[in-house]
Amino acid sequence: MSGFDAFIRIVYLLAAAGFVIGLHLMNSPASARRGSRVSTWAMVAAVAATLAFMIHDGHTRAWGWVVLGAGTAVGGGGGLRMGRQVKLTDIPQLVSLFNAVGGGAAALVAVNDFVHLSPHGGPGLTPRILVTTVLDVVIGVVTFTGSLIAAGKLQGIVSGAPVVWPGSRQLNAVLAAGSAVMAGFIFAGTYSNALLGGLCATLAAIGVLMVLPIGGADMPVVISLLNAFTGTAVAMAGFVIGNTALIIAGALVGASGTILTKLMADAMNRPVLAIIAGGFGTADAVAPVMGAGGAAVQSVGPDDAAISLAYASKVIIVPGYGLAAAQAQHEVRALADLLEDRGVDVSYAIHPVAGRMPGHMNVLLAEADVPYPQLKSMEEINPEFALTDVALVIGANDVVNPAARRPGTAISGMPILDVDHARSVIVIKRSMGAGYSGLENELYTDPKTRMLFADAKAGLAALAAAVKELVGT
């Protein structure tokens, strides 16, 4: 190994260490941005070293430079535009899209290698390369199509409801068997590009069928898992072309993505395997429980609600998915400011899985510049509900559903916000519709609860106007 090659490998190693340090720093909000910067510079170093290698090596054809430049311009430009313009609440589908192209690229690295080496009986196709190529293609292609479906579900292009039909399980088994046979032929020495193409096509179908049956609300966990898959595919690509940068960074993402998937599933109180098996959320899609049977629902208008809020001394705001769906973050902050100006003590109760992605509420409220110290975690705020005059629930349902305290329901065991301990509760949502779990919510029929039926954005604006009127500003 020449001194130059050694230098390149050392840069790769330092870059890998940079990724680790970056992830480490991202463990706390205070240092997260610094971590991201370290990681960015590590990436720049790895790419620059590779560029230096290509120039020093001098074997790259003119067309090679052209396609590399053109591809990078198209892909990088598109990625940058999407990354810059995406609405914050659309981030999960974008991450999924990047998983798709990342997994696809990892698979293509191996395909490219195979196509290069396969002619004339493929003398260069050592067992090491064959095994890792097949692993890379399997993981990469499944991730590619699976991530596209996941992104489609979140974007609303593909139905968010679990898509299942009779025989889909059997079809999956047939496809899996088919790809195993094709992989077997490749191992046995059939170095045919067409065969590899057939394998890719079959795997693509498997990826689609894997994600279709999973409900849209489970997508954040699925995306995290596919993230781990992509990392593993990249590591395999590293084995194929013998590049340590890909091996280390890929394995890092594979492992950290796996742990993250587990942490996310734990926060939602659901086993990862049950999520992958799919079918959850059916109730949500099929028949959201409308109108709460016999129990009396008290509804309230903005003016009455405004009086309760304006004369309270302590108010806790409980945001949920509805706040994100209505994009009402600025309205809620405007209302909170009005109340604070009157001397009301206002804080926000953030449930770890409120919304549809972890940290959803934090990101949303931070966008409206809500001061960080007002955001209270569940553990912190639960004891305070008992001292609270009004709990204002905005588009939250499952995270405040007392049914979680009873066994036998879909959300049993999930810790919830103790909103029902507050002296009175006001709920803003559009109807008696169910949330993600499809369960009825007895909080809404509690005698101390009043329902303000409205879209969150419109409802909050009306409330703020009423408060303003009331205090005469």
Binding site: F19, V20, M26, N27, P29, A32, S36, S39, T40, A46, V47, M54, R61, W63, W65, V67, T72, G75, G76, G79, G83, V86, L88, V95, L97, F98, V101, A106, L108, N112, P220, S224, V234, A235, G238, F239, G242, N243, A245, L246, I248, G250, A251, L252, V253, A255, S256, I259, L260, L263, M264, E331, A334, P358, G359, H360, N362, A366, P371, Y372
Partner: protein, 103 residues
């Protein structure tokens, strides 16, 4: 079994261990940024795309290299752009309290 493969496997396993350890007890709030950060790190596959372009020497090779480069660079550039935007949201803004308009 070549010694280099064994070294690579060792490196792979150790990287897995690092990955497991580094994401130990993250608060739920940071799950989404961390997912996005991991997402951008596998943009390293762009290095693989560059090396594919370096060896391409026929039409198939060029097409494959083009698609690989486009995919990988979208992952890399987009991943970092998104992570960065998301983390900006987590910045503490001490001066942001009152004063400026809520929307």
């Amino acid at each position: 079994m070549p010694a280099s493969l064994l070294s690579d496997i060792s490196i792979f396993v150790l990287s897995l261990l690092v990955g497991f350890e580094v994401i130990s007890k993250v608060p739920a709030t940071l799950h989404t940024p961390l997912m996005s950060a991991a997402n951008s790190i596998h943009g390293i596959v762009f290095v693989g795309a560059m090396l594919a372009a370096a060896t391409a020497n026929d039409t198939t090779g060029y097409i494959l290299a083009f698609v690989t480069a486009a995919f990988a660079s979208a992952n890399l550039v987009g991943g970092y752009a998104v992570t960065d935007r998301m983390l900006q949201m987590f910045r503490t803004r001490p001066a942001a309290r009152r004063g400026e308009p809520g929307e």
